[in-house]
Amino acid sequence: MDETPVLSLSQVSKAFGAVRAVREVSLQLFPGEVHALAGENGAGKSTLVKILSGVHRPDSGRILLDGEPVEFGGPADAQRAGVAVIYQEPTLFPDLSVMENIFMGRQPRGRLGIDRRAMRASAAELFARLGVHLDPDQPARGLSIADQQLVEIAKALSLQARVLVMDEPTAALSGTEVARLFGVARTLRSQGCALLFISHRLEEIFELCRRVTTLRDGAHVASDLIADITPDDLVRRMVGRELDALFPKQETEAGEVALKVRRLTREGVFTDVSFEVRRGEIVALAGLVGAGRSEVARAVFGIDRWDAGSVEVDGKRLRPASPTAAMAAGLALVPEDRRQQGLVMDLSIERNIGLAGLSALHRGPLISRLAERERARDWAVRLRLKFGRLSDPVNVLSGGNQQKVVLGKWLARRPSVLIVDEPTRGIDVGTKAEVHRLLSELAGGGVAVLMISSELPEVLGMADRVLVMHEGRLVAEIPRADATEESVMAAATGRSAA
């Protein structure tokens, strides 16, 4: 291409204290092209995004807009320059309505201040484009992660920017929404918009993008035309080594029933859900976003109260609405929203890992810092956590590494029943294989695993059985042998009953 790039980075670097997050990286975004950014967790992708959007100022290097050097003093400057960004972690105003979230600061003006009618109409139009069923007047509080992500996407679209940067927009989405999003992205592309796309799902990169830039440890590794490389090449560039098979679920004999859920109902959320998970089994809970899977997991673990039904662990009934009782019975839940539910962002890595098992760290009445550190170090190493020091607060970790801390926190308890909700959301390919190996190992060791995942390949690769939810009901149970993309999707969209 001989056009000038709309936006480009030239030799930018950014360090946080001793961590050199981005090292002399250059990147060029051309109009009418989707550019992918790939790299392991902590490679520096999000940092690069934040440099583009004016959140971080680069330590060195330049940002060029239409070939002219610019300085972004803050997100407002970038926005004005026509750069729209979907951040990795949704950043909504929970108290405000969805439409205000989208148009904050740019609300259409009428004669008497803000024109709500026009705003509602524009929001509805955006949602229609994305195929989302959201009420513009609904408050953002209580939206699922996926819905939040969709609102973020709508917000970015509404800016009608020349450059659209998307940091893992699909991590929380399932196939249908992803397809819609890609449709919209292609339209934008054809209208001459430049797009930057980040995802850990390689197939998405290959489907949507024309060019891919790979980062490793903050440094630029390669920029290729997608057409010139294979997924394996890309993985090699990211990880710097060969990877084994991605979904190595070992065959194990299913043991006794460890988790038994009977006719569980929470009014308005899910109805009459019954299933069992045996020791050594990995059972996947699949469904479209909003089917109520996370809600079932929350209720089982005692976060929410259920209205009817029962939960048994190893034959003993659980007290409702008590996570402490659930944990005592051997249950663990890795929640879907790591920032809100999984981590205490201000606390250090070691304290986060220790938090779910404080009693194990006690020596007499006092906490043993040594035991706490040992436990954290042990799991940090096993999960290949990329960190500076264990006493650093978790909020300086990259998204994927934060997810690993959540996993470590729960695995350190050695649960007998493990519920994982989107366990690999935002985790890079290498680590994903690692997490899968770990889950499979746990199952092999007799742990009953219930895995909620929106990623079909993951579901198909890992699960011994697939349970499918649709609109708050369990509609199908598919044994591994019969589980295919088609059969699961059919059940998830309510097209077939099991």
């Binding site: 105003f93 405000l96 205000e100 904050m104 600061g105 201040g113 009420d135 308005g268």
Partner: protein, 345 residues
Amino acid sequence: MRRNGGRRLVDRVARVRELGIVVALGVLFGVTGAVNPSFLSYASLRDILLNSAIVAMLAVGQTLVVVTRNVDLSVSSVVGLSAFGGALILADHPGVPVAVVIAGCVVLGALCGAVNGLLVGAAKVPALVATLGTLYAFRGIDYAWAGGRQVNAADMPEGFLSLGSRSVLGVPLLALVALAVLLAVGWTLGNLRAGRELYAIGSSPEAAVLAGIAVRRRIVAAFVANGALAGLAGVMWAARFGTVDATVATGKELDVIAAVVVGGVAIFGGSGSVYGAALGALLLTGITSALAVLRVDALAQTAINGALLIAAIVLDRVLALRVAAALRRRRYHETTDPGRPADGR
């Protein structure tokens, strides 16, 4: 479809929030009026309006700050400073026009607000700490200025004092001023971008930065506006009460925050309306007046005041919880409606 149903209910509930206070007000006036009809006389209602006007205005200003997830504890000291300053000028320089003095007090208040705003917005001192500090500091300035002096009604021009008691069309002037402030601020918060941005900042400060909102400027502006209103409330105080010394309005900050909280403004920012806050102020002054009229034992008044305050908060909360539960159930019945076509989500 189902979302729309839910929305309408949510809307209604949102209105119910303020309705709750209106109901409480109704009960208060009904019961007190039944026991002692003179409570509902014109003169009595006028007194209540007058008494609540100042607190209501402060509550409106405080709401501006509270929705941004901040708080201004120093208002009482600003009121004191402005009341004393205004009174002193009027007493010592009888030539200065009243309008100029009022404007001066508003500016003085705005300056105090700017100090708070800069501390919080620019220097990132947590609001509670900053304004607790300026609560002491402004009051200290007030004491130093006053040096034990008291300005009496006799020292101030009649024209000024009459502002505190004059009525227009039967409604006290001060209440009208408070009402005008209320409507203006209410409209700003609801219908201007700047107003909505205050809510956004309070709802999620980090998101506000990412959305390109000038957070610092908005926070400073909220504090300045609140300070200006406190300054205005200060002169109103001087006009209303006539006797002014350095202790004016000491301790009022908790009353103001109580009014804001009772009015349903979330103390952690992001939601609530000035109308609620003003009603809260009206309710609180109503309670005080009613207790005096009902011949409640002086010693028991404080306790009853506190108990009623808690009752109001609890009632509000229980109502909200009920409605939330009802909303969830309602969704349940809609989703389990057999006739409803599946919508692919």
